[in-house]
Symmetry: C2
Subunit: 200 residues, 2 copies
């Protein structure tokens, strides 16, 4: 993998805990109901997710959020209709994994500010949700002209020595690329394709 | 999928037949023996393959060669140690799917020349064969510092109205991207990752 920005070792980063962040919906059906409501109000939903790569023992790993000891997702989330993909992704990353300004000690905030901010780089993958169900595809299937959601995945550059604040109900894992490869059964097809995306 | 070159409909292209091209090795063990011999003579083998995309009924399809009604492969092949990836890929494409200059009628050669040549664009994926066996990975696994083969996959731009000459023992298929998606069981992990690679 070659990037036009540096990839740093995992041990350069510090992780602290922040307050729990509950999922906005309690069930899949609640989630789909909200998607339908949003679609009727403001059209296709837009999401942005971050592909953040670090090295560990010299091998590339991807940072992945695990919610409630259950499912895995890339950091990021839904955008407000007024947000651009790039700005919205930075906002979601700060909400999800940023050091909370109201509760963190000043020295930590200062150190984190010194480290610098994440930078959104190339869009490396785009996924469509053609229907009001849970399936996304890396293309818009034939005969589907009105996707319900579009999700863009961006490479995100991590400045050296950044501090992550991980919500208490989540875990942040660094998963080696070989663990994701050809492993849609465990991680789903989006994650299983990350090695291909990173291979160029 | 967005490319910085035009993607043309399948029906713009004409396919004729050319002489059979037998595989260089008759069995997997023969193939691995040859790889070992080449490795001892000239080090890591290099291969280049072409990701050629056309539209059909408005949907992206990938051109895939099927050998002897059996396995599928992308057009391309091994490079000589002196060939660059880009020039070698053009040579392999002309040997495999080009109109043969010695046997084709002049009007066909003229029409094909007028259409223009394939153009090698971005390298979109890199695969490593770490051992003397049949497995390739889109990364070099940890503890493997001397891969036996590296394979680069390039987007290849197809000029409108190009003529393909397909060897009599092969078929050239245009496979829709949705057929490859999440289908490593049928097409293998390289093909199953093509939708991810094309999704950006």
């Amino acid at each position: 993998m070659r990037t036009d920005f540096p990839i740093c070792p995992l041990q350069d980063y510090m992780m602290i805990e922040r307050e729990s962040q509950q999922e906005e919906d309690n069930s899949v059906s609640d989630r789909l109901e909200r998607l339908k409501l949003q679609y009727s109000e403001s059209g296709m939903r837009r999401s942005a997710e971050a592909l953040i790569v670090v090295t560990h023992r010299g091998f590339p790993h991807v940072l992945v959020v695990q919610v409630a000891n259950a499912f895995y997702k890339l950091p990021g989330g839904y955008l407000d209709p007024s947000e651009s993909f790039e700005d919205g992704l930075i906002t979601r990353l700060n909400e999800q994994l940023g050091v909370p300004e109201s509760t963190a000690p000043n020295w930590l905030l200062a150190r984190n500010k010194e480290a610098g901010d994440w930078k959104v780089r190339e869009c490396v993958s785009m996924w469509y949700r053609p229907n009001f169900d849970t399936f996304f595809y890396p293309y818009l299937p034939p005969q589907h002209t009105h996707p319900k959601e579009i999700k863009k995945v961006f490479m995100v550059e991590l400045p050296p020595k950044k501090i992550f604040a991980v919500p208490a109900n989540m875990k942040l894992h660094a998963i080696p690329v070989y663990e994701l490869y050809d492993n849609a059964a465990r991680y789903g097809p989006l994650f299983a394709g990350i090695p291909h995306i990173l291979s160029k």
